[in-house]
Amino acid sequence: MKIGKARVPYLLLLPGFAFLFTFFILPILNLAQTSTQTPVKGGDTGEYEQSFAFSNYINAFVDNKEQFGRSFVYATLATILALAIAYPLAYAIAFKSGKFKNILLVLVVAPFFTSFLLRTVAWKQILGEEGFIVPTLRSLHIISEQTTLTSTAFAVVAGMTYNFLPFMTLPLYASLERIDPRTIEASGDLYANGLTTFRRVTVPLSMPGVVAGTLLTFIPAAGDYVNAAILGSPNTKMIGNVIESRYFKIVDYPTAAALSFTLMAAILILVTLYIRKAGTEELV
């Protein structure tokens, strides 16, 4: 339906888009520009000039390919784990919770309200040497005296899984909740057993939620450095940790920019391929 004049939508977009242009697009362009700079000869620390040094990218990647690899492996693992945990949870809330549906939904989001850093630190302490889990496991001889749970890749992946779980659960719930329960009954009526119904009806119908949830988990996980910093060790550094230290400790802006740009490009390419494959264009 048309209301009013053709100018209206543009006027509505103007302030927001001017803002996003200035503080999102422009910084990204500037980042691209920074990424090919080199230090000014004889200049101070942090002084750089443009010299179109595309070799920055190659150096940055070669020097940090381990951390890149780790970021994508950890993020993928965390995404798969989160999906495995969240799917039955979302399914149960959508189909088996009856009148408690709204309360349970609030409970999924509720942990959000305690600062995620506090929760991550809490995990560190629960899983740490002074927590109750490690001594218990040791006294039961399930783990050896030397084994720790924190400062390991396991802890980092577990932390990310935990922190991004609601991002996975909510979109999954939203798409599961939209499924007409009659389609599931119809599938049963047409000789499909429980498992076949789930595989042939429920899962395909919930695909939009799966796609949205995995993206909302994978993207922040791949760029995360907080979990690695709190729960990990120097051996679990991710690309986020490198970018952070390049900026703040080494003041090497071009490398940090090149790394950021590579990360962003890699994620965008993966996401595009993934969306193509999953066949769901309508995400937003």
């Binding site: 509505l12 888009f17 980042l31 920074t34 600062s115 560190k124 900026y247």
Partner: protein, 278 residues
């Protein structure tokens, strides 16, 4: 029907089969209990340790005390950090909600040239890792010789919250029956009155939800804030910095209070909604 006949007609099920059937039926419920336990362990831990008579480092349980709750600002900097986070959150939420709602109306209500690229521009900030958003914005501020601090942080928060507002409000607008607005126009309300009396009240819950989301995103943000806040301390930054040497129990008090406050707001909202629907 008498009890006798009932007993006679129903064949008895072996205990083993009965147990496995019970598990089959309740598997999801059991799973749900485990899932929620997992979600709430650190929340419960944080709450419990807010009562720890810990002194400076809140690592080991040393005894129960209410003093942390009686004096939440007892630890140095903690209330200052909280105050900064609230100020930034309120400002960022306000701006992001206004900008995002306008964009949502443009995209949700009008057909215009460039609509799909507008959608892309909204999607991109959400698809960009926070560290890239934070780092790129910091580079821009440095180019313009703007020192990181309070306002750069507010700007950064508005930037990443706006997309979430747009998506939330747009969903609400999309679920709005266009016939309601047509009915208002049919009943002598001009465009402005239709917007004020019908569209806005109906979209308002979506806007409120978006604002709540924006505030919690802003309040909880660490990565982008860390890049753009300079020496300014926010609550997440405070927790991060003190994580190494043990967080004061006052931080747990604040975290737990936020949890209960937000829960109360959500429950109150639900109750109001239910009352309205009746």
């Amino acid at each position: 029907m008498s009890q006798k006949i009932k007993d006679a007609t129903i064949p008895t099920i072996p205990t083993k089969a009965r147990i496995s059937r019970w598990f089959g039926r309740n598997m999801l419920r059991i799973y749900m209990i485990f899932g929620f336990t997992y979600l709430f362990i650190p929340v419960a831990y944080t709450f419990v340790f807010s009562f720890n008579d810990s002194g400076k480092s809140n690592l080991i349980w040393k005894g129960f005390t209410l003093s942390n709750w009686q004096n939440p600002c007892g630890a140095p900097e903690v209330c200052n950090a909280l105050g900064n986070s609230i100020k930034i959150g309120v400002l960022a939420t306000t701006f992001a909600t206004i900008l995002g709602t306008m964009i949502a109306f443009a995209i949700g209500r009008y057909q215009f040239k460039g609509r799909s690229s507008s959608n892309l521009l909204i999607f991109l900030p959400m698809a960009t890792p926070e560290i890239v958003l934070g780092a790129s914005l910091l580079s821009l501020f440095l180019v313009f010789k703007i020192n990181p601090g309070f306002w750069p942080t507010v700007i950064a928060h508005v930037m990443f919250c706006t997309s979430f507002v747009v998506v939330t409000v747009k969903a609400r607008i999309a679920s709005l029956d266009p016939r309601l607005e047509q009915a208002a126009m049919d009943l002598y309300a001009n465009e402005l009155e239709t917007f004020r009396r019908v569209t806005l009240p109906l979209v308002a819950p979506g806007i409120a939800g978006a604002a709540l989301l924006a505030f919690s995103l802003s309040f909880d943000d660490f990565i982008i804030t860390n890049f753009n806040s300079g020496t300014l301390i926010t609550f997440p930054k405070f927790v991060y910095v003190s994580a190494a040497r043990g967080i004061p129990a006052q931080a747990n008090v604040i975290g737990s209070s936020m949890f209960f406050l937000a829960l109360a707001i959500v429950i109150a909202g639900q109750l109001v909604n239910r009352k309205k629907a009746r």
